[in-house]
């Protein structure tokens, strides 16, 4: 933790461990290239924000980190993504990767099941059957997602009866239940009202000591509020990547400055 603080103060990146290393990543949808030679190191623990105008490839990039792009026909990828010294596109164990790298989506996508079943879904699919273990896991996950108090009396009722903000936090609990090391968030608050957004942001701030969080956001204030480092994407390239304060106070690139000051995007 000390090193993290020192790092933020000095802007020195050597002292923290990198969780994810991306090197010269190119991605094509059929003939159309969507990502151009992306290279970025993402630090362990803490929050890394990906900002940029829509269609600039930030969500596409996020989805390469847990290989969700595999679901789309015609996606071709070159380059390396290394998570914990393992090249995730060389290994074929997508299941293991997705267990380690969880994801929260733009819109809450709980299954039409009870709240309990939603959170227990992942662990159950891993083969955990013990009621006691599952109960504990569900409770811990919901507590970590700061939603336990709101749902503890209605665990057996439909998850779809919750408000959007509550659903999104249950989605986060569902991801946490897998005990992931990395959590990817794809504009997790874009479908939420301001109060729910605030709750989710608080949650992210609390989670960053335990998880490596990569968050895509449209909302620059949000990036400034929750993240430690920020990468600015434009037209499938990373224009600038630095400490969040630097990006927002003294960006090096003119385009970054134009974007964060609201001149386009």
């Amino acid at each position: 933790m000390n090193t993290t603080k020192m790092d933020r103060n000095k802007g020195n990146e050597q002292q923290i461990q990198n969780k994810i290393s991306v090197n010269d990543l190119n991605l094509f949808y059929g003939e159309k290239q969507a990502l151009f030679s992306i290279s970025i190191d993402i630090r362990e623990k803490g929050v890394t924000a990906l900002i940029g105008p829509s269609g600039c490839g930030k969500s596409t990039f996020l989805r390469t980190l847990n290989r969700m792009n595999d679901l789309i026909d015609g996606v071709k990828i070159s380059g390396d993504i290394v998570i914990d010294n393992e090249n995730i596109y060389r290994s074929n164990d997508v299941i293991k990767l997705r267990t380690k790298v969880g994801m929260v989506f733009q819109k809450p996508n709980l299954f039409p099941m009870s709240i309990y079943d939603n959170v227990a879904y992942g662990p159950r699919m891993q083969g955990i059957k013990s009621k006691k273990v599952l109960n504990q896991l569900v409770e811990d996950s919901l507590k970590s997602a700061a939603i336990w108090d709101e749902v503890k009396d209605r665990l057996k009722s439909s998850a779809l009866g919750l408000s959007g903000g509550q659903q999104q936090r249950v989605c986060i609990a569902r991801a946490i239940a897998m005990k992931p090391e990395v959590i990817l968030m794809d504009e997790p608050t874009s479908a939420l009202d301001p109060i729910s957004t605030l709750k989710v942001e608080e949650l992210i701030a609390n989670m960053k000591k335990d998880y490596t969080i990569v968050i895509v956001t449209h909302n620059m204030q949000q990036a400034a509020r929750v993240s430690d480092k920020t990468a600015f994407f434009l037209n499938g390239e990373i224009i600038e990547y630095a400490n969040t304060e630097t990006i927002f106070s003294m960006p090096k690139d003119q385009r970054t400055e134009d974007y964060v000051t609201g001149r386009f995007g």
Binding site: M68, T99, N109, F111, P112, M113, Y121, G122, M125
Partner: protein, 274 residues
Amino acid sequence: MRKAKDYFFQSLLWLSAIITIATLCIIVGFIFYKGIHLINLDFIFGDYSPSGGGGILPMIVTTIYTIVISLLIATPIGILAAVYLQEYAKQGRLIRIIRFATESLTGIPSIIYGLFGAVFFVTVLKMGMSIIAASLTLTIIVLPVIIRTTEEALKTVPLTYREGSLALGTTKLQTLYKVILPSAMPGILSGIILSIGRIVGESAAIFLTAGTVAAMPENIFSSARTLTVHSFLVTQEAGDIELAAAVGIVLIVIILILNLSATFISKKLNKADY
């Protein structure tokens, strides 16, 4: 002027709706009017007597046999085929051809299937005129219905469910089994209900494959007569419209019961999930 147009158009809509409902009411009313006085316990649960009178139990049993056997075969095959087409197959030319084929199959008149069944199952496979030959023919008739409706049902399952499940490190099979199929269940069930309607309503194809023996079938290899075939024959041979109408009432009631129970099951399933 615009108001008049609006009024005119609305009346047209009303008229169409009324014609539709009235047709249904008139048909059902006519059948009940003609046949209801013949309905009693002896008629429904009595064995058939060739000399006239007697019940239609053999036909009811034969009808239920054909429903159960053809659904037992067609449902699993149809659902698996639809899952393959929708979830596993790479969308391309082959899949488009298969889809086109299943769509065309739903449009073929049933007498053609009947002729095929009469040649293939009855003669080539030496099943003879039998319930099993008829059920297999019916299986082919309802298979495309089940495949199409299951595919449509699978299409309505949001992509976000699949993503949500796969992102939790589940396999494709787990996602299919735990998330996709349960969500698609109401649609799949409505396909099965449609199929029951098709099976119960079929006469030409059964006539050619199961024959017309008006006796209690000993087993599924016996030749037998379903309700629709019976209804056709009593009108054709004896000109007995009233008896045919009474059979019609029984048919309507059977279909009603099956549909209601399918809807009930589908609601139950939904509740278990939501």
